[in-house]
């Protein structure tokens, strides 16, 4: 196999492998909202106060998913 074909193959496999990170991200987001719902059911009065932290946590975990996307794009289109 010559270099360009190997590079093309490597790019595609690499981009596919980068998507594996999304498993952890899905678990993390579910974790955040599961804990929020469980806490809100125990203490409904405190729920609105902590909702800001829930959104912040969600955005931070979502960012990890997007880092994986950026790495996949980098592998596919830059190399």
């Amino acid at each position: 196999m010559d270099v360009t074909a190997a590079t093309a193959l490597g790019k595609l496999v690499g981009a596919g492998l980068a998507v594996i990170a999304l498993g952890g991200v899905g678990s993390g987001i579910g974790n955040i909202f599961a804990n929020y719902v469980s806490g809100a059911l125990r203490n409904p009065a405190a729920a609105p106060k902590v909702f800001g932290n829930v959104l912040l946590g969600f955005a931070l975990v979502e960012a990890v998913a997007l880092y994986a996307l950026v790495i996949a794009m980098l592998l596919l289109f830059v190399f």
Binding site: G52, L55, L56, F58, A59, L60, E62, A63, L66, Y67, L69, V70
Partner: protein
């Protein structure tokens, strides 16, 4: 229809007014043959529109200054209080001097994200250079604030308390590295969210066209739902950028790590 449209065409920069400082324009490609390219692009146009929009939102909204606010005045006061509370909670009451900066940051990112959702418009924050410029300004500014306020004592930020001595070298290296990746994470988070959102809308738009009249309704319904989600993400990403700036500012100003 000789040219094929890629979903990434929506991020293309079009020079509206060619301006090459100290050089000349290459007539075929439209780029600058020499000199600094300071052309007025569609990105610049949207930034001007955002500037005019934010200024109009606050000037016109607060024109009446009624004690019982009208709707526009309520919106203006709401956004002011939102950021003022955020700073007071996360940094402390003496950080009021940083309010104009963080407020400008939040309103600029919010309006850039929202105006990008108008069809045929352009999302300023979907380019990494724009978000990186904002993030590096925040990072360098906060580092300078930290050094000015605490001097060399600022480096205590990288030494977490309650760590056994033999772990300390490793912990300091990890803390410094995670500090240095802050501008990267801040910029990539906003950029990737905006780029991914618009790319998905474009890709599903392509599906609507290719599935035709019979099957095109399903991706169209998904695009409607996705656009609603994108409005939410526009607000959320502006909020997250602002609140992370407040948290990093808190780390620098009050050194309790």
């Amino acid at each position: 229809m000789a040219e094929s449209h890629s979903p990434l065409d929506v991020f293309k920069i079009d020079r509206l007014v060619h301006l090459c400082l100290g050089g000349s324009v290459d007539p075929e490609s439209g780029r600058c043959a020499s000199g600094l390219d300071a052309s007025f692009t569609n990105s610049s146009l949207l930034m001007v529109i955002v500037l005019v929009g934010v200024t109009a939102f606050f000037l016109l909204g607060m024109q009446q200054r009624a004690l019982v606010p009208s709707r526009w005045q309520s919106m203006a006061e709401l956004s002011y209080e939102f950021i003022a509370n955020m700073i007071r909670e996360n940094v402390g009451p003496e950080a009021r001097r940083y309010f104009p900066f963080i407020f400008t940051l939040f309103m600029f990112i919010l309006f850039c994200n929202l105006l990008g959702l108008i069809p045929y418009s352009f999302t300023v924050t979907s380019h990494i250079i724009v978000t990186f410029a904002m993030a590096i300004v925040v990072f360098i500014g906060i580092t300078i604030i930290g050094f000015v306020r605490h001097g060399a004592h600022f480096l205590k930020l990288f030494v977490p308390s309650g760590v056994p001595v033999f772990l300390l070298p490793l912990m300091v290296v990890i803390e410094v590295l995670s500090y240095l990746t802050r501008p990267i994470s801040l910029s990539v988070r906003l950029f990737a969210n905006m780029m991914a959102g618009h790319t998905m809308l474009q890709v599903f738009g392509g599906f609507v066209v290719s599935l035709g009249v019979l099957g095109g309704w399903a991706p169209l319904a998904f695009i409607v739902a996705l656009t609603g989600l994108e409005f939410g993400i526009a607000f959320l990403q502006a909020y997250v950028f602002a609140i992370l700036t407040c948290i990093y500012l808190n780390d620098a100003v009050n050194l309790h790590h």
